[in-house]
Amino acid sequence: MAGGMDSTWKPDDFVPPRRLGVGLTYIPGAPAVEACRGAVDFLELSPDILCHEQFSGGARRLVPQPARWEQALRDTEGVPVVVHGLGLSIGSAHGWNTAYLDLLDALHALRPFPWHSEHLGFLTVEAPGGGELNVGTPLPLPFTEEALELIVPRGAALARRYGVPFLLENLTWYLPGLPSEGGRDEVGFLNDFVERSGCGLLLDLYNLHCNAVNHRFDAFEALGRLRLDRVVQVHIAGGDTHNGFLMDVHSHAVPEPVWELLEWLVPRAPHLAGISYELLDEARMAPEAVLRQVERARAIWHWHLALAEKGTRHGAA
């Protein structure tokens, strides 16, 4: 257990972390990361990329790759690092990935982080003949009371474990008509989650844009209902259209509608502490193109700071 160190988290009392600025996904050796080194204030690390996975007797183990750990520690020296998990499967009703928690403990001991985050979804389920099946992509939770009862204590436990805010990230999904209760949609679900858990939000504006386009709703209306006072970090990214769906693949520059959402959000999110551009190794965006995204985000960030100094915000909680 890594809790108890430098605690800023209190039960039922969301304490926003200090502002960091503009960030970028850390990928070891990626030319884009090097190109942006002087232009970013923090790096976002997924600890999963520093390991390989082993299975023994049905148990999953994440084994650190020493060379990758050393490189990551070297590359991120002197730069704040926030953690963005890929494999926790926080929404799996049969149990989350405890191997990932062990990994997070190890990372926290070496490089404490100001906050950490995970995707709102589930990756693993019970296999037909027993054991565990990894679906291979995070699937969305139904917007039900039972799902909230599952993830609220998990979110609170994660915040307590490391003594820093835990953020839940909204997901892109393509399945139609997800089950819900009480008229609750994703926004209502996220609001209930932060209210009951004391956690924050990593708002992925590109994911929101994808869902708005794919499921035909108004992203600005959805943002207007979201607890923006709990938004700590924002993800921006770009993607591609496939079989009529806008996809979360981080393969392109940030589209204009996402920049517009960011500009709308910034004056309304008083505790926004970081805006980061999401990079995907497989996408192979040109380093100069990534730098342009970071610089544009930085201009918006400076506006955010100026608003904070003047105390002029729209509907700040």
Binding site: D48, C51, H52, E53, Q54, F55, V63, Q65, P66, L86, G87, G91, S92, A93, H94, F122, L123, T124, V125, E126, A127, P128, E132, L133, N134, V135, G136, T137, L139, L141, P142, T144, E146, A147, L150, W173, Y174, L175, P176, G177, P179, N214, H242, N243, G244, F245, M247, E282
Partner: protein
């Protein structure tokens, strides 16, 4: 709703479609699950939606990416049959990981086990052994301590000896140049994969292959520093390569 049942049914449906398997058994299991009729209806119908098709396509694309990145040599050796083998692999081995090397190792196992085409098995075994060695936590120290007669040698857990059906340099050279692979021969050409070998692999002699095989159970050295059936020189060469090492024995204070 029983969330656990709903997730199991949805996850299994997505994974079955993604892997190219029949989803009928999953659909048949819905009646036995703690679900409301409305939820069963949704699960039965969702498979026909374009959004479900795309959801199932995402993990398949990622599995292709993972295999493509971590089984390059073997995919080259498979040539025109690579797509069919990959399809068979996805159908037989359900998705179990998001990690590139874990998926690659599983694919290489599958190929070595199921593909009979000339040279493919040893290439898959070599690629698998190289990954295994690279991932091994403890690096080879490079020092080879003196051994007393009776000392017990064992294989390094990540070392391997793989039998090729033609000179390995010729097979791998042709593969990398995309030239026709040599004809398989009657004799076998052993390749040693071990942590002390520069580049991690080299051709081995038949005597080295025998000595390596003899080390599988842990074998005591004789007075001349040899193993049964292998000379002291061969044993020394395997020790320098890191393929054989001294078996650790519990110290006097160790718990047994």
């Amino acid at each position: 709703m029983a969330l656990r049942d709903w997730q199991a049914a949805l996850g299994q449906l997505v994974e079955a479609r993604s892997s190219g398997r029949d989803a009928a058994p999953v659909l048949a299991s819905l009646d036995g699950r703690a679900l409301a009729e409305e939820e069963r209806h949704w699960l039965r119908e969702v498979g026909g939606s374009p959004g479900f098709a795309l959801t199932a396509e995402v993990p398949r694309w990622w599995r292709h990416q993972r295999v493509g990145r971590s089984a390059r040599l073997t995919l080259m050796a498979l040539g025109g049959s690579a797509d069919a083998v990959l399809r068979d692999y996805l159908r037989e081995v359900p998705c179990f990981t998001l990690f590139f090397i874990a998926e690659g190792l599983s694919f290489l196992d599958f190929v070595a086990r199921t593909v009979a085409a000339p040279h493919v098995r040893p290439i898959a075994e070599l690629e698998r052994a190289l990954w295994t060695l690279k991932l091994a936590a403890s690096a080879h120290g490079g020092t080879v301590p003196e051994l007393a007669p009776g000392a017990v040698l064992e294989r390094h857990p990540s070392a391997a000896c793989i039998l090729f059906d033609a000179p390995p340099e010729a097979v791998l050279g042709a593969l990398l140049k995309q030239a026709p692979l040599p004809e398989p021969e009657a004799r076998r050409y052993p390749v040693l994969v071990a942590p002390g070998v520069p580049g991690l692999w080299r051709p081995a002699t038949p005597e080295e292959a025998s000595a390596f095989a003899a080390g599988s159970e842990g074998t005591p050295l004789d007075a001349a520093g040899a193993l049964p059936g292998s000379s002291a020189d061969v044993v020394a060469a395997l020790r320098v390569a890191g393929a054989l090492r001294l078996r650790e024995t519990p110290g006097p204070g160790s718990l047994t």
